[in-house]
């Protein structure tokens, strides 16, 4: 019951938003819906309701985490959106806001769906609703970004579908009553056909990996994140990627149950390191701050995949990292959005001294950089440290070393750009009209996300720890 409401609140809100005609009032739908959704999520996590719709929609531990993350991130972004759209009065947001809300619905559905096909549909929905968001600015560049995103992610999602089919097909032989429910798949994975399982995993990894942005399927990310508004970037990098990661995790669980632990872990570790390496290479000397953030997201996805691949405690770290990454990306993209708005550019040739011109956004941007690169006392440090611990204690010494090296390169590449942006003297403004200043609505979300990231760095709430442990145990299935 609760779950149904949870999914339908954003849908209704979207309908309402589409109905409202005033461009000024419409944004306020977002915080309201987000607040309701968030409150409801908390109650749901507390009550832990039974699955509905024949078990198609229910809560599993990793799903809970993603649900919590998406809802929180969306709440933060929804406040920001109101403030942001005040500076974009020239453009109608009648498409943007419903899309955002549908996106929330889709993400919720992904988190709650216990059925292969349903999850796939939900992810496809999020993918499709994302396109108009990226296209919000209506510039040729944004069209290009949208086109690339749409084509790549559609192909990816198609591959994922084929992969799902393979997954089912693998278990068809000796399973009298086949079903797409994950619980069912896991139960019968032992008897499933290994070869088909492997093929299925490859396709699903590539397919959902495209959504997640693992190299080399990441190519849409820099363009899309670069051209989309900051808030959309935050939602993509924090929410969508987490949903895709969740999908991969669920599939991985089936394969583990099918006795393919080593196989999938090798694949995940390989893809993870590849993504981190690619991100590191493209971050060095990056001049465009939003593209830089996109590559940082690629790197983060690499870390997640690596953690999932190493498994055990590393998986705990990966899930924690997923949450940290979501919130930190919120900090970074939102503050980058403010900086972009204030300077009218996101290129390091024009953007200097953000800490002087925008004390809040500049500082948060700097701190976000430190956080995302795994410096204490921020959240990501804890998760990265956990993954590293697990890697070494599982005697992946070589992989651990490469991991550290890549982290270092990423730090150097990202730091160069960020320091150019935040330090120094700002150039004199070209135009005086409609100058952006940090306001309450665009500043508060930054502070909120910063505080959350800081808190996760020094104190992980017990309930979260419990959920993480649940998720870790959930993923450890016997073949």
């Amino acid at each position: 019951m609760f779950l149904a409401i949870l999914i339908f609140i954003p849908v209704l809100a979207a309908v309402a938003a589409a109905a409202i005609t005033s461009n000024v009032l419409r944004p306020w739908i977002m915080p309201i819906a987000a607040g309701l959704h968030f409150a409801l999520v908390l109650t749901v996590l507390d009550l832990n309701p039974a699955p509905i719709w024949g078990g198609w929609v229910g809560l599993d531990p990793p799903g809970k985490l993603v649900l919590l993350l998406t809802s929180t991130l969306f709440l933060i972004c929804s406040i920001y959106t109101v403030g942001y759209l005040r500076y974009r009065t020239e453009r109608s947001n009648r498409v943007l806001i419903p899309c955002l809300l549908i996106f929330l619905a889709g993400a919720t559905l992904v988190a709650c769906s216990q059925q292969l096909g349903l999850m796939w549909i939900a992810l496809e929905t999020t993918a499709l609703t994302t396109a108009p968001m990226i296209y919000f600015n209506r510039t040729p560049r944004s069209i290009e970004a949208t086109w690339k995103y749409l084509l790549l992610s559609s192909v990816g999602i198609a591959l994922a579908l084929l992969g799902s089919f393979f997954l089912v097909y693998a278990s068809l032989g000796n399973d009298p009553y086949p079903s797409l429910l994950f619980s069912h798949l896991v139960r019968h994975a032992g008897t499933a056909n290994a070869v088909w399982l492997k093929i299925a995993f490859v396709f699903l990894l590539v397919g959902y990996g495209t959504k997640m942005g693992l190299a080399p399927m990441h190519t849409w990310k820099p363009d899309a994140y670069g051209e989309a508004p900051g808030v959309v970037g935050a939602l993509l990098a924090g929410g969508l990627t987490s949903c895709a990661f969740l999908a991969i995790l669920r599939v991985d669980r089936v394969c583990i149950a099918g006795g393919l632990q080593t196989y999938t872990s090798h694949l995940l570790i390989g893809m993870g390191l590849l993504s981190m390496a690619v991100a590191a290479v493209f971050m060095l000397g990056q001049k465009d701050i939003k593209r830089m953030l996109a590559y940082s997201s690629v790197e983060q996805m690499g870390i997640l995949a690596l953690g999932a691949g190493i498994g055990g405690p590393a998986l705990y770290g990966a899930l924690l990292q997923m949450i940290n990454n979501g919130l930190t990306k919120g900090m970074l993209f939102l503050s980058a959005g403010n900086i972009h708005r204030s300077y009218g550019s996101k290129n390091t040739d024009d953007v200097h001294g953000a800490m002087r011109r925008l004390p809040l956004s500049g500082t948060i941007f700097m701190l976000g950089f430190l956080a995302i690169t795994g410096s204490p006392p921020f959240g990501p440090f804890i998760s990265v440290f956990t993954i590293l611990n697990a890697a070494f204690s599982r005697h992946f010494f070589f992989i651990g070393a490469i991991f550290l090296l890549l982290l270092l390169i990423v730090f150097i590449g990202m730091g160069r750009t960020v320091l150019i942006v935040v330090l120094g003297k700002p150039l004199p403004r070209k135009h005086r009209n409609n100058v952006y200043r940090d306001g309450l609505l665009t500043g508060l979300p930054l502070i909120l996300s910063f505080l959350l990231v800081l808190m996760l760095g020094v104190h992980i709430p017990p309930f979260l720890t419990h959920m993480l442990h649940q998720a870790q145990k959930f993923m450890e299935v016997r073949p």
Partner: protein
């Protein structure tokens, strides 16, 4: 009953090759539509007993794949006034040969794969593989946005073919979901196509390389 399945599949394969080789847009669209219609008939051939639901699904599929989407593409074509795909990344003949090779490879590959089901010793798996491959080839070698959309369609067709193996297992919802997504996806795509056309006054994706390092 293998022949009843394999014949249409062979036609599908031939269509793949044809689509790889043809340069006229209209014939490309038509053959894609034809492929869609043929595929929509497959469930009827596969199922032991035909109930209403299957027919409905088949009809809807045929309508979308055979009418709706081709219509959209035609419209986009008219707006953009393009007749044919010129200078693809790889020439037409080479792509054809690649497609043929791909088909051969997928047949052999499928032969190696263990068949988990009796009665699936048909062309279904190789056909779906090679169709997916064809879609990919179209997507990667052609520059016109529309051709890429068609490539994506073919890709979905390949997946649909594989879906035939799961008719028993997979409830219809998924298939309908696929169709829905396909429909919405193409819908969004056509809008974007429209905008691309307005912004760049052409559908040549080589112009879409402003975003770079």
């Amino acid at each position: 009953m293998h022949w009843s399945i394999n014949t249409p599949l062979v036609i599908v394969l031939l269509l793949n090759l044809f689509m790889l080789g043809v340069s006229r847009m209209r014939s490309l669209i038509y053959s894609a539509a034809a492929q869609g219609v043929i595929l929509s008939a497959l469930p009827l051939l596969l199922e032991k007993q035909i109930d209403l639901m299957i027919i409905v699904v088949a009809v809807v599929t045929a309508a979308i794949k055979g009418l709706l989407i081709p219509q959209m593409l035609h419209k986009a074509l008219r707006d953009a006034q393009i007749k044919r795909e010129v200078e693809p990344l790889i020439g037409f003949l080479p792509t054809m040969i690649l497609g043929a090779l791909g088909t051969a490879v997928s047949i052999t590959f499928a032969a190696y794969l263990p068949m988990t089901q009796t009665g699936s010793s048909t062309l279904i798996i190789p056909a779906s593989f090679s169709t997916v491959l064809t879609g990919f080839l179209l997507l990667t070698t052609r520059y016109k946005a529309i051709t890429q959309v068609i490539g994506y369609l073919i890709l979905e067709n390949g997946i649909y073919i594989f879906g035939m193996l799961l008719l028993a297992a997979v409830p219809f919802l998924v298939e309908l979901g696929i169709l829905l997504d396909l429909f919405v996806g193409i819908f969004v795509v056509s809008i974007i196509l429209n905008h691309i056309n307005e912004a760049f006054s052409s559908l040549d994706t080589r112009q879409l390389t402003a975003l770079k390092e």
